[in-house]
Amino acid sequence: MPTTTISGRTLEVNEEGFLVHPDDWTEDLGVELARLIGIEMTEAHWVPIRFLRTDHAAMGETPTLRRVSTQTGIDVKTLFGLFPKKPAKKMAYVAGLPKPKGCV
């Protein structure tokens, strides 16, 4: 597994740069991960990211875009505005989680 250094911490990541260990994540790290993909975190960004973290902890997998939208009440269009082009993938990246599976 490749590693990367963010804010002075050495972290294990996969080929696409997603954290391998969700437990490595902190909110400070989330800010840095977001910055790496050109996103400045605001409170509006944190709402779905915090949901991703709690939902992953409860369900054992990364929620799909639809699940994020239905569970948080944030419509999909808004999520596209917050995390442009690939919201499902980008939210998972910032939250330090694997890409949502929903894709089979």
């Binding site: 080929e15 875009l65 699940r67 929903g102 894709c103």
Partner: protein
């Protein structure tokens, strides 16, 4: 002393529900089995892909449900209103109450064009088509026959949906059909997907991506549709891209039955949440446990393809476990997510994919290692003939519950793994 036989209630008489009813009678002959369905129509759904191209006739695809269900099964016709899990009973819309000891939910998945703004409209089943219903597939046959060239767009709304390779197959078959009818040069064939490639699994995505390239199919990836504008004849995405069409063939959003949601047993798409190895109901959040409830086939939220092969293999595992439960023993059989899909590629050829939860589709031979005769992830005429022949196997062996000689567990024998060593872990666990 008399004892009442255990009551098994099956909701849905499609592939999974029919197999369950028939197999239970073989292994637990004293059980009392009731099956509920809304109608008596059983379609061989892979035939929907072939009907638009005249490769299957409507008559070959449609049968009576009852004909395939063991006559020892009590069949109730009706719409399920809800499952009262705490009361161990199912209430139908007409007020009928059915009590059970064990419940199998096999109510499948349904295309829901109503969930995408603009998809249902005047152009529905005219310029906006689908091939996931009998009516839609027939309409598409006629609309294709009237097509004179232009932009033919094949589109996937969202995952998961039934038979994830079907839109690719449709694209390959359409390419072939257009050539045969002298229309290919007048047609731009476009494949629009919410995924970042042709398919979900890396090796298959690469192979199938090449197949699209070879056929000069334009691929639009990462496209999350927001609406269909039937007036302007365009698909619009959330990130404000537009894909114009003359003839649209879409795969609408798929959802499980509404009664699953009303019963509090489903996820956000109304799929029953289950343990992926036993198909036993797995409550989400603080919902109560109900170990007597199972979901099989497309109705379950298993993280693998919604496909007949998954229904088939998982039913076999379920039946083995049910016999153990019937004898008061713990369940020891585990479903590995095994799926086995033929992919029609046009020109009388097909590919074969074989995969499970852990291992993506690989190249190689099947089912006999090194021999085949089927070739994995490579086009061959024999694969195509096997896919066509499977319709007979489905009606005559699979539904009645006769053994097909295929093990439910996936095998790594005869396959050629590639990629990072992580992909090898599954082969280490082979029994």
């Amino acid at each position: 002393m008399t004892t009442t036989p255990p009551r098994l209630l099956v909701l849905g008489g499609g592939t999974a529900g029919t197999m369950v009813a028939n197999k239970v009678h073989k292994v637990l002959p004293d059980w009392d089995v009731t099956l509920v369905d809304r109608d008596d129509v059983h379609d061989y759904q892979p035939g929907y892909l072939f009907m638009p191209f005249g490769m299957n006739t409507p008559e070959q695809v449609r049968r009576s449900k009852r004909r395939f269900i063991d006559p020892a099964t009590r069949i109730v016709t009706g719409e399920v209103d809800r499952v009262d899990a705490d009361g161990r009973r199912v209430v139908l819309e007409d007020g009928t109450v059915l009590d059970y000891d064990h419940l199998v939910i096999a109510s499948g998945t349904t295309p829901r064009p109503d969930q995408t703004p603009g998809m249902l409209g005047e152009g529905w089943h005219k310029s906006v088509n689908e091939f996931y219903t009998f009516e839609g597939s027939l309409a598409l046959r006629d609309n294709l026959a009237a097509f004179e060239g232009g932009r033919l767009v094949v589109h996937i709304t969202e995952l998961p949906f039934k038979c994830p390779v079907a839109p690719l197959e449709f694209t390959f078959l359409a390419d072939d059909w257009l050539r045969q009818h002298g229309l290919r040069e007048r047609t731009e064939l476009v494949f629009v997907t919410p995924l970042d490639g042709a398919f979900t699994k890396p090796v298959a995505s690469r192979e199938l991506g090449h197949a699209l390239e070879e056929r000069h199919v334009t691929v639009e990836t990462d496209f999350m549709v927001e609406s269909v504008d039937q007036e302007a004849k365009v698909l619009r995405s959330y990130d404000e891209r537009e894909v114009p069409y003359d003839l649209l063939v879409t795969v609408p959003l798929n959802m499980g039955a509404d009664f699953v949601e009303r019963s509090g047993l489903g996820d956000e798409l109304n799929y029953v949440t289950v343990d992926k190895h036993t198909m036993q109901y797995l409550p989400q959040g603080d919902r109560p446990a109900h170990p007597e409830i199972f979901a099989l086939g497309d109705a379950a939220n298993l993280p693998t393809s919604k496909a007949g092969s998954v229904a088939h293999f998982s039913v076999e595992v379920f039946i083995d476990n049910l016999v153990q439960l019937a004898h008061g023993r713990p369940m020891t059989h585990s479903f590995d997510g095994h799926a086995n899909c033929f992919v029609e590629s046009g020109h009388g050829k097909a590919l074969l994919l074989d995969f499970n939860y852990e291992t993506e589709p690989l190249t190689g031979t099947f089912p006999v290692p090194g021999v085949g005769p089927l070739r994995l992830l490579k086009e061959s005429r024999f694969n195509h003939l096997s896919k066509l022949a499977f319709r007979h196997i489905y009606w005559n062996a699979l539904l009645p519950g006769r053994p097909l000689g295929l093990k439910p567990q996936m095998s790594m024998a005869g396959k050629h793994p590639e990629g990072p060593p992580a992909a090898m872990s599954a082969s280490m666990r082979e029994e």
